[in-house]
Assembly symmetry: C2
Homo-oligomer: 233 residues x 2
């Protein structure tokens, strides 16, 4: 399953160290170049639907590409503005490439963006060289049985409770974890698995599966619209 809530996926490309052109861009998807990401997409001859940026790291924009030019001095990053424009156009699922690696401030900044968009109800996947990071808030995410490698969880924005890790090498069952919890290097073991949090937000970081993105999108679809109702009793 690729489509979430009848909509496509909004791909956003930054200028970070790792880059993979979108593999399966559909007619209902949107590909945004966030400033320097334009050069990378051009280099790969990839589809570009929209440029969003302040022009501070590119030399030219092809005349046939739609654009939103931002001021250089602004509170929100080019990447965040790109996501908000995608959200305005109705997208609820975002895949961000070129958002990690290189400068650590940019990496952390993009994790903050992930958290902010998750608070707004969107599903966001930041794809790095080795791994994918997503976030769930009062929600759950499933992984199919063929996933391999490492999966790690970390709270974001404070403590988390009602935390579950099921079908992985190490289990958590209704755990309360502090904001500094370090859930690094759990492992997929060949069965369908689930990470859930009843109250709070988790970053979920898992290995890229053979470099393919559509698997990540499919896990994304599994989280959408399945907000956990925290027991009131």
């Amino acid at each position: 399953m690729k489509v979430v809530l009848g909509m496509g996926v909004c791909y956003i490309y930054g200028a970070g160290e790792h880059f993979t052109p979108p593999e399966e861009v559909g007619m209902h998807d949107l590909v945004i170049a966030a400033d320097g990401g334009l050069m990378q997409l051009k280099k790969h001859g990839a589809r570009i639907d929209l440029y969003v940026g302040d022009l501070d790291s590119i030399e030219s924009i092809p005349i046939n590409i739609d654009r939103v030019i931002l001021p250089r001095e602004k509170d929100k990053t080019d990447m965040m503005q790109a996501a908000l424009i995608g959200a305005e156009r109705g997208f609820r699922t975002f895949c961000i490439f070129g958002g990690t690696g290189g400068r650590l401030d940019h990496t952390i900044g993009n994790i903050q963006l992930l958290a902010e968009l998750t608070n707004m109800g969107y599903s966001v996947f930041i794809v790095g060289k080795y791994d994918v990071v997503t976030a769930i808030r009062n929600n759950e995410i499933y992984f199919p049985s063929h996933f391999t490698g490492n999966i790690s969880i970390f709270p974001h924005s404070g403590d988390a409770s009602g935390v579950y890790e099921e079908g992985l090498k190490y289990a958590l069952n209704n755990a309360h974890i502090p904001g500094t919890f370090n859930g690094v290097s759990n492992e997929f073991v060949g069965v369908k698995s689930r990470v859930a949090v009843e109250s709070g937000m988790l970053l979920v970081v898992y290995e890229r599966q053979g470099g393919r993105m559509h698997l990540n999108i499919s896990t994304c679809a599994m989280t959408a619209g399945n907000q956990i109702q925290k027991p009131s009793g």
Copy 2:
């Protein structure tokens, strides 16, 4: 000023992407190789006082090096165990190299470690290829006027209040910021500057200054023992 509270600096070396041997290791400092960091230190012919790890990523340990061998299956990472051993020996200031770059789960895991050690009252600096990340909790940090480049702040473990950025291109004055706040890309402007938080924790990420570490240690010294008293009225 290099020495904090009469103690030296505990240097911890991991196997992350970027590596700089310690420049000014003194007789009161401690250099710990955390598992795979041993190979890097050996390659550079650097001083190694102690190996801490589970032996899962090294081939041999020189016989004259003290060691703490950890079980492979454990709750705490090699890096965290190394820091706790340093703390047991009386160190309060930690500089971590080889803790970022590469796998994003390890990078985020080490930021969690930074936050945990900061909660315990220690000063910790994670030195990456381009930047240094430290954290302050109910505390402040000063930077000398010769610092150049970018500086970013991000809350950790939830909201932060009484947040100040002074002497930088963009100012914050007694701000309340949510846990998803994205304070990326503020800039040093050639005057002494200060970042402070009265309640909560901030990650502070700033550009490495000419690759030298002793400047970072000197800023570290400025934060130690200066916990901000939150106004009670």
